[in-house]
Symmetry: C2
Subunit: 654 residues, 2 copies
């Protein structure tokens, strides 16, 4: 006997409720509510091959409502992925299980994105769909031709980032993007109507989307809506009217079924209601067979695709995308050494990008409406638009969070390396996505200019204070604050060559002298190094980053003039420095010297390197004024710093 559609969907429901019950933790409501929609998607529409989860031309599926992770785990398991096994599902939400509380791309092949922070999955899918169209424009249908599917809940749709993502997708006419909205009218607090009166279809239409609707529990109606979505050349929102927790007879349709185990009694009642007469975690053979058959749909197209790729004239170019060496800018850096320039590091970044974008066709640049300030657009880079997906520059609009999440999606999609700009202070707007870049190990490069009070007159709303240190705190994010053209180029090379996480470049608005006169190796890759050595017997080590390295050099010169030897250590990247061996770190920051940090930002955290030395920085909000005045105002000048160092050396301070 062949399994029915409903039986297949109930397999998802049963696995979800059993796994949540075993963990006594999790979210059964969404998987049970969207089981029918997911069954249609995975059995009939989604293009994938469980034998190779990384087949580049697979459809992408993002579970934006990440709390419903069991829906995804169940679908991957049932369609025949090697993992999760049934044992994996039984260890749902336990340490070491690939079935984490929320889906984690780094734990389980088949999970395209790490989701849970609401709204971001959908926004990442926009980036995936954009990457697909770009690669399609470059390589044609023969190599790149797939859809991006999303399941999103009311939470995803209410978050601000949804507005940014939807606006961007509509503008770019990403017709291969299909969002399945789990319209169950329930949020954690109760009815959606407690907090929202929005006409969601009207809003999506206002942003250039097509909207389809279906009964999310009616197979034929779901199929009809999917066909409508696929036929549209606009991105499509499919409103799936569902009952949250469908199958749990006493709790379905209420917020009670959202985020905790149903309890033994309700699970038993659900088994009766669903006609699911099997023990926990048992899926009968005929249902397994139907699912596995659906999972094999992709094998033939995958094989054909491989044949096409093997014969494709662009094969090598296609396959090498993303393969970047740390030496990528060696020639350019040699040129800088030969021809020193005094420019802002944001300009130095543009210069590096000129070299990069000419060499690497896989970069896709952009800015959140600060192109001329972030210096992210290089000569000859055409805009990425609905009319020309071959373009490599995205005008993201005033959407910092949306941009950052889209870049995550691009990086996760692969085949492109995204970079995007905004002011460093607005890293706050994008922080949720920056964190996900780091967690997802996504190669995204954040170009964040106007990186201190050095931006001057725009004042405290625009002057980063706590941002550098706050970003350094994010695990797996490499934060660079280069001091000149050479370090900026070195940082770019490192960021592009890094394949296991994001990098962020904090760049100055103001001009800075080129302090580096040689490049024996990529010294920025060391994280910190002695830029200028003491001449007099060394008593002081000055540690600075970015625009304050110039000040440190001035401080050193004044100290040396008084017979006090001082090293200047440039420390463009804390994370890289921490990765050096102990001997190197001791050589750069020797124990028996007064360590002094100079950075135009929060001093909290610098104790790590200065010990009980001195820290110069800005621990209050900035102010509006010309930048040199601000440096004076906050005591960040050689004239203000030198006396305090001498005082400290003389032991005059408490």
């Amino acid at each position: 006997m062949t399994a029915t559609f409903t039986q297949c969907a109930n397999a998802i429901r049963a696995l979800a409720m059993d796994a949540v019950e075993a963990a006594n933790s999790g979210h059964p409501g969404m998987p049970m509510g969207m089981a029918d929609v997911a069954t249609v998607l995975f059995q009939k529409y989604l293009k994938f091959d469980p034998a190779d989860p990384y087949w580049p031309d697979r459809d992408r599926f993002v579970l934006s409502a990440g709390h419903g992770s069991m829906l995804l785990y169940a679908a991957l398991h049932l369609t025949g992925y090697a993992r999760p096994t049934l044992e994996d599902i039984k260890t749902f939400r336990q340490i070491g299980s690939p079935c984490a509380g929320h889906p984690e791309n780094f734990e389980l092949p088949g999970v395209e994105a790490t989701t849970g922070p609401l709204g971001q999955g959908l926004a990442m899918a926009v980036g995936m769909a954009a990457a697909e169209r770009h690669l399609n424009a470059v390589f044609g249908d023969r190599l790149v031709d797939h859809n991006t599917w999303v399941i999103a809940g009311d939470g995803c749709l209410m978050e601000g980032i949804n507005h940014e993502a939807v606006g961007l997708a509509g503008h770019l006419k990403l017709g291969r993007l299909i969002v399945l909205w789990d319209d169950n009218k329930i949020t954690i607090d109760g009815a959606v109507s407690l907090s929202s009166s929005e006409d969601i279809p009207a809003r999506y239409r206002a942003s250039g989307w097509h909207v389809a609707e279906c009964d999310g529990h009616d197979e034929a109606d779901i199929v009809r809506a999917f066909e409508e979505a696929l036929a549209s050349d606009q991105p499509t929102l499919v409103r799936c009217r569902t009952i949250i927790g469908k199958g749990a007879p006493n709790k379905q349709g209420t917020s009670k079924v959202h985020g905790s185990a149903l309890g033994a009694e309700e699970v038993a009642a659900a088994r009766v209601a669903l006609g699911w007469d099997y023990p926990p975690f048992v899926v009968p053979d005929e249902i397994r067979t139907a699912w596995l058959e659906a999972g094999r749909r992709g094998a033939a197209p995958h094989a054909e695709w491989k044949e096409r790729l093997a014969a494709d004239p662009d094969r090598l170019g296609y396959e090498r995308r993303g393969d970047v060496q740390e030496t990528v800018l060696e020639a350019y850096i040699a040129d800088l050494i030969a021809n020193p320039q005094k420019v802002a590091t944001r300009k130095a970044s543009e210069m590096a990008l000129e070299a990069i974008n000419a060499i690497l066709p896989e970069t896709i640049g952009g800015s959140a409406d600060l192109t001329g300030s972030n210096n992210t657009l290089t000569k000859g880079l055409k805009p990425f638009t609905a009319q020309d997906y071959a373009g490599r520059y995205v005008y993201y609009g005033i959407r910092e969070f949306g941009m950052s999440a889209a870049m995550n999606g691009m990086a996760l999609h692969g085949g492109v390396i995204p970079y995007g700009g905004t002011f460093l202070v607005f890293s706050d707007y994008a922080r949720g996505a920056i964190r996900l870049s780091a967690l997802q190990q996504a190669r995204v490069v954040y170009v964040m200019t106007h990186d201190s009070i050095g931006l001057g007159e725009d004042g405290p709303t625009h002057q980063p204070i706590e941002h550098l240190m706050s970003l350094r705190l994010i695990p797996n994010l490499d934060v660079y604050r280069p001091c000149d053209t050479v370090e900026t180029a070195e940082a770019w090379a490192l960021a592009l060559a890094r394949t296991d996480g994001p990098s962020l470049l904090a760049l100055s608005r103001q001009n800075l002298p080129q302090l580096r006169t040689s490049a024996p190796e990529n010294l920025t890759g060391r994280g910190a190094y002695c830029l200028v050595e003491a001449e007099a017997p060394r008593q002081v080590v000055l540690i600075a980053t970015g625009s304050e390295v110039e000040i440190a050099v001035a401080v050193r010169d004044e100290l040396e003039a008084q017979g006090i030897g001082a090293d200047v250590v440039s420390m463009p990247c804390w994370e890289r420095f921490e990765a050096q061996d102990a001997q190197y770190r001791k050589d750069v920051l020797p124990a028996h010297a007064l360590k002094v940090s100079i950075e135009a930002g929060a001093t909290l955290g610098w104790e790590r390197y200065t010990g009980d030395g001195l820290r110069f920085g800005v621990d209050v909000f900035g102010a509006s004024g010309p930048y040199l005045r601000l440096y004076e105002h906050y005591g960040l000048t050689a004239g203000a710093i030198v006396p305090r160092i001498i005082e400290k050396l003389n032991g005059e301070q408490a």
Copy 2:
């Protein structure tokens, strides 16, 4: 001769272009484009009295497009506010000038909110309009009856927070909110059409707004649209079709006029085009007279309002709102001491709130759809809805950023003290608003629960790691991480009594024992204090916060059992501790002891207090699992910590 409307508007244009020219920095485009709309608003509609910028029943005006600050400075100056003087305007964007690059509420009366970070002004205005309706519901039209006006640009409308704010305002039917959209079709990168294809009026209508339109340079048409807006019982978006930089003949209508000085030549040409035949910063008497007259419109209604207030039976209740003493919870705390309880600090917060909300009618609570998890709703608190503005609990929906910005608006409005909840990890979503709470010195209380890996199975997307330290880095934000019921109550009392800035409570999901057995003073107000003193000769000081204080006590007990004396210092608030005198700090953290920090979060920053001691924490992303397992996994148990302390004491470590 009486000045014409156009002459009055041109006074704004001239002051804006002259000030930007003098500073050689700033944004002339918006003030020149919106000068006509602002003239209608300030001369005919806005209710205010320059003689008392803090008249509580004034209309609120928020310049959400804060870069156009000169529009606001010009209007305040021309209508007769004491500041800015003409001299102030001449020092636009210089250190010490009240005319900062972006409007700053703490610098200049008449500036209702600090704006510049786009979208947040509008979102704060939603909070102001909500506060107005609430106070109106409590005190009636006789004391509270005013409108909230906003000028917003395309940037404000494109930001994600706009979606959240608009959704909330529409849902709450805040009909007294009117947003004037500067529809000039230009962003920094060029035409709006570069990055957006949105039908903005349709989107606003989809969210329950009324939309009016006008020619933003036609006085009569502006008046008509304003009347339409005032007549609507929905919040209204007034689409003002304008030309950016209107009056600058060669640059108007382009992005060139947005963000830099026009240049001497174009300023001269603008003077000709505008028929403005006066030297820089000179406004002729008849134009000044017309403006001052408009500025006096509010004097009579203000006087009448004062008379009504003087005679009002609710006067004392009205005037005392916001007057909270640190002793507000003394009786409740005494009760806790008498009846210790082991509960999660999120539950302890709810218990404190039960006491607070009963005593203080000015609190307005809420949550971003995590009411049951944040424990923010107390018994008897009714929802704040379009049908009942007297309610004191806002179901903010899944809108962390919108909630936080709305709370800023409420606090700035005055008469209410807002608090709102989400998970600590989602402080990332709200970070832009949290920073503005701190910068604006707004009394907002953030209730952030699930404050560490202690939340367990939801995994790394939901487990804060870097968040505590990142938040401590924000200037003027008091971050509390209480260890038990008593500290939680003390933190609440301090947060409510604080009038010059926000507080954030980081609270546990898991249960914690009550460690405090006495409350001789508000010890949390000290920031840190010795909770348990060493018995054996003190060799170690253990410093912990929140849920790790319990662990520190266990570590101490094991050390003491081995004859090693150890203090346990609970440090619920770094900022408060930093404010103590040097002697107190030395007493708590004596120089000659091994300092050891224990906090389930990033260790970077703890060097400040441990020096070269030890730091126990979590410097990588979290994981999904039961919380006690996670504490073991990350080495945050007495069993893992004690041996390392002993090793360190024995000097066995490098």
